[in-house]
Amino acid sequence: MISIDAKKQIDVWIAKYPKDRQSSAVMQALKIVQAENENRLSADTIQAVADYLDMPGIAAQEVATFYENYNHKKVGKHVIRFCHNISCMLNGADDLIKHLENKLGVKTGKITADGLISVKKVECLGACVGAPMFQINDEYFENLTSDKIDQIVNNLK
């Protein structure tokens, strides 16, 4: 379930924590395992991570469902995580999300027909200073306007 390569990567993180505290590496482990499973987690992969870190499955599931950067359904090649928490909302995030939905022709939570892009509404990503903002894969895009969104999305391949 977890490849040898992924285990090596997880071991690097386990080594950063005190002995017997390997479960502290759960967030990174889930990220690593997600990356090699079509960018999503299933119950089986979460259990596999829990087993590898010797922790209860439900404890790994708690982490995997708390944070927005884990995907539990099929996602597109690029995942746009659009913040709609207070700062971004006050700065017009809701309108911009509608704009993005119209442009892509899909609702949040869905994938475009070509499988390229999926959109998720997420809670605060800690970049309020640049609100409104979204994250595409690992990159932040801040101070968004509808024009800027068009430009960014057009460049996604």
């Binding site: 209860p56 599931q61 469902t65």
Partner: protein, 753 residues
């Protein structure tokens, strides 16, 4: 911690520095509402219901997580507190469905009580409430998770008490849900306590669903009778039926928890297999008759088969370990009066010359303070849930636990070492431990230890025992029929003596300690059970016996009881075909909660209980049946008006003393594959076998003969086969040369060995 003084609502009270405020206010009887706080669980401080005003602190503080300081002034009733309480309860009720009229928790609901007392009478929330789907978590607990207020008591219970984190909080914010992972259901043998800790109607008892309101029932304190802990509990009844069982607090016995076995077994009482009328067998045909006719027939049978011929020495009395102390005493007294010494309760022991005699000398609450335990021959988590819970608490404080078992079982704590060894090697490991200890103590070695090899396992256990300040050696049920049982027990006694360790004998169950105390074992020329079964007997009186579960060899027992001229009087709680086959009279007797009696637990606490309900139809408590039988036999000294008089008489008797030799003889007595037959934890007595919800759980369904590949090949078995009628499971978890059977079915099968 120093004693300090603080002020609660203007009243000066003393406290220990560092105690939480809620502990102090609870002790002083000051009412502070709470949801997430539970005295036996860790502090979450997440519900905010227990907010109080502490002078000098601008914001209200949660009493559950605010340590007290000298001179602290606390207000629990002022306007600031009342405003906070009102706000918190309003917030908690936002997503609560308020479906109290159809909720089983209604009337005993902490949320309901607190909302009435501290909340507002109107809701300002006009938005839609969230709905949480229920996926079911098993046969015992009913979920209605829309009602959940996320106090996380059940999550913490799993993590901290049950030792398996089964529930968790998934999602976040408004989408937070309390649920188990993978929808496997909840497996813990203590899971029923989640029902008790849940402050709302999210987790309720499934067998009790939609039955009754809590205020309609009578609650009677009683004692659990399925193991030798004797957990304290409340039996809740309605119109003469047991409707529910909940736990009662007793820190010396069960703290505030009870096992699922004790909580749900009551369902068996209303099973259709209950025996409801006295019956006699006339010319091979069963006839339902009145008590008078049945007892006359029984006494006449005893007279014509036994007493008339002066053959009381050919009569036998056997009891199951679930009998009450009073029943054991009365049956013994009757038989003694008519001159019969053939009595026994040790039905499942193959060889009574090789019996475990080991005293327990550690109390339940002391178990959690030990720093080392050696467990021999027990799947302790499932077989003794409450004792395992104490051990688990000890491990949390740093105790080390070693195991000497024939199979690797699940433990809900980390073991120091788990030694899996064949049944016939256990004795040598223990001899090695003793030798190592005695060598270390520079004691002179007895002859039998001279040739013993001390291996690493033995050395490690010995050094653990020697280096521990409070250790215990626990001997479990799997040793009962070990060919070296008595030697193992004697070695344990020796080891404990030399290492200054305590011992705990878990090879016995239910009320066996009481049976030993009243001396329900043969004395003088009396025969033991195995001798009776192969002797020419004219009669038997059998108290709550189901041979296919109670005897190690069904065939021998049935053969002894079915002999033509043997008159058998059976007192049973449940119908049973085999019992009907061999009995001449069957008398229906009361089961758990239907009779008064006394249980003697492993602490030697004599715990008496009264009947919570009247037994159904014609069913009578066994002590009354025995008393009337004694009267009909015209025996003197049976003028009891109630069972407490019997108990009073027992306490005036000299307790039966057991002396046993401590001979140790180390010779391996067998080499072939040995079989350990264990009834699964929910099959150990008749009531449990008839409780439908328990039987549906994974533990209730346990029915496997575990063996490793090599043993399977020796026996010529594969994974699709059955061994002694039980499905074979091939696993490397079992030691060589051993088959470990956990069965929820009858042992119909000994002839195959």
């Amino acid at each position: 911690m120093a004693d300090i003084e603080i002020e609660i609502d203007g009243k000066v009270v003393s406290a220990k520095a560092g105690e939480m405020l809620i502990t102090v206010s609870d002790r002083e009887g000051v009412s502070v509402p709470r949801f997430c706080y539970h005295k036996k669980l860790s502090i979450a401080a997440s519900c905010r219901m227990c907010l109080v005003d502490v002078e000098g602190v601008p914001k209200p503080q949660p009493a559950c997580s605010t340590p007290v300081n000298e001179g602290m002034k606390v207000h629990t009733q002022n306007d600031k507190v009342k405003a906070s309480q009102k706000a918190v309860i309003e917030f908690l009720l936002i997503n609560h469905p308020l479906d109290c009229p159809i909720c089983d928790q209604g009337g005993e609901c902490e949320l309901q009580d607190v909302a009435v007392e501290y909340g507002s009478d109107v809701s300002r929330f006009s938005e839609g409430k969230r709905i949480v789907p229920d996926n079911g978590i098993g046969a015992l607990i009913q979920t209605d998770m829309t009602r959940c207020i996320h106090c996380t008591r059940c999550v913490r219970f799993g993590l901290e008490i049950a030792g398996m984190m089964e529930m968790g909080g998934t999602g976040r914010g408004e989408n937070l849900k309390i649920e188990p992972f993978l929808r496997e259901g909840i497996q813990s043998e203590l899971s029923g306590n989640m029902i008790d800790v849940c402050p709302v109607g999210a987790l309720t008892s499934k067998p009790f669903r939609y039955e009754l309101r809590s205020w309609q029932m009578n609650s009677m304190p009683s004692i659990a009778r399925h193991d030798l802990v004797g957990s304290n509990l409340f039996v809740q009844t309605y119109k003469g039926k047991v409707k529910r069982v909940v736990s009662a607090d007793n820190d010396w016995v069960n703290e505030t928890w009870i096992s699922n076995r004790d909580r749900f077994s009551y369902e068996g009482l209303t099973h259709k297999n209950r025996l409801l009328e006295p019956q006699i067998k006339v010319q091979g045909q069963w006839k339902q008759v009145s008590w008078k006719v049945a007892l006359d027939y029984a006494v006449k049978g005893l007279n014509s088969h036994v007493l008339k011929h002066q053959k009381a020495n050919q009569l036998g009395g056997l009891v199951s370990s679930t009998a009450t102390m009073e029943e054991l005493y009365l049956l013994k007294k009757i038989l003694t009066e008519i001159g019969c010494d053939n009595i026994d309760h040790r039905l499942n022991v193959k060889n009574l010359d090789n019996i475990i005699t080991l005293d327990s000398n550690i109390k339940l609450d002391a178990l959690e303070k030990i720093d080392y335990a050696l467990i021999i021959g027990a799947n302790i988590q499932l077989e003794q849930p409450m004792i395992n819970h104490r051990l688990r608490k000890a491990t949390k404080k740093g105790a080390d636990i070693d195991v000497l078992n024939v199979m690797a079982f699940d433990f809900n704590y980390l073991l120091n070492t788990e030694n899996i060894t064949a049944p016939n090697k256990i004795v040598f490991t223990l001899a090695g431990v003793l030798k190592s200890i005695m060598t270390n103590n520079a004691q002179e070695l007895p002859d039998y230890l001279a040739a013993v090899e001390v291996d690493e396992v033995a050395n490690n256990i010995a050094s653990k025992l020697l280096n521990s300040s409070s250790s215990v050696i626990i001997l479990g049920e799997h040793i009962i029929n070990n060919e070296d049982a008595s030697t193992i027990a004697n070695l344990v006694t020796q080891i404990a003596r030399n290492a200054n360790s305590k011992t705990l004998n878990l090879s016995i169950t239910a009320n066996t300690i009481a049976a030993n105390l009243v001396g329900f074992v043969p004395k003088n020329s009396g025969m033991d059970v195995n001798t009776m079964l192969v002797s020419d007997m004219r009669g038997f009186i059998l108290l709550d016996i189901y041979p296919q579960y109670d005897f190690h060899d069904l065939e021998i027992a049935v053969k002894a009881f079915t002999k033509d001229d043997t008159f058998v009087i059976s007192l049973n709680g449940f119908k049973d075909d085999i019992v009907s086959d061999y009995s001449d009279v069957i008398l229906p007797i009361a089961s758990v909660y239907e009779t008064s009696g006394t249980q003697l637990n492993i602490n030697n606490d004599m715990q008496s209980y009264t009947a919570a309900v009247k037994a159904p139809k014609e069913v009578k408590p066994a002590w009354k049946v025995l008393k009337v039988m004694a009267d009909l036999l015209e025996l003197p000294g049976f003028h009891y008006a109630d069972s407490t008089q019997i108990l009073a008489e027992i306490s005036h008797q000299p307790y039966a003393k057991h002396t046993h030799d401590e001979d140790i003889n180390l010779t391996s007595k067998y080499n072939s594959i040995s079989t350990i037959w264990q009834s699964s934890p929910y099959s150990i007595d008749a009531v449990l076998r008839h409780s439908s919800a328990l039987q549906k759980t994974k533990i209730g369904q346990m029915n496997s003969a575990y063996m490793n590949q090599a043993s399977a090949e020796t026996l010529g078995l594969s994974a699709d086969d059955k061994y002694l009628g039980v499905p074979v499971v091939i696993t490397s978890a079992v030691a060589d040369g051993c088959v470990f059977i956990n069965a929820n079915q009858a042992t119909n099968t000994q002839e195959q060995t």
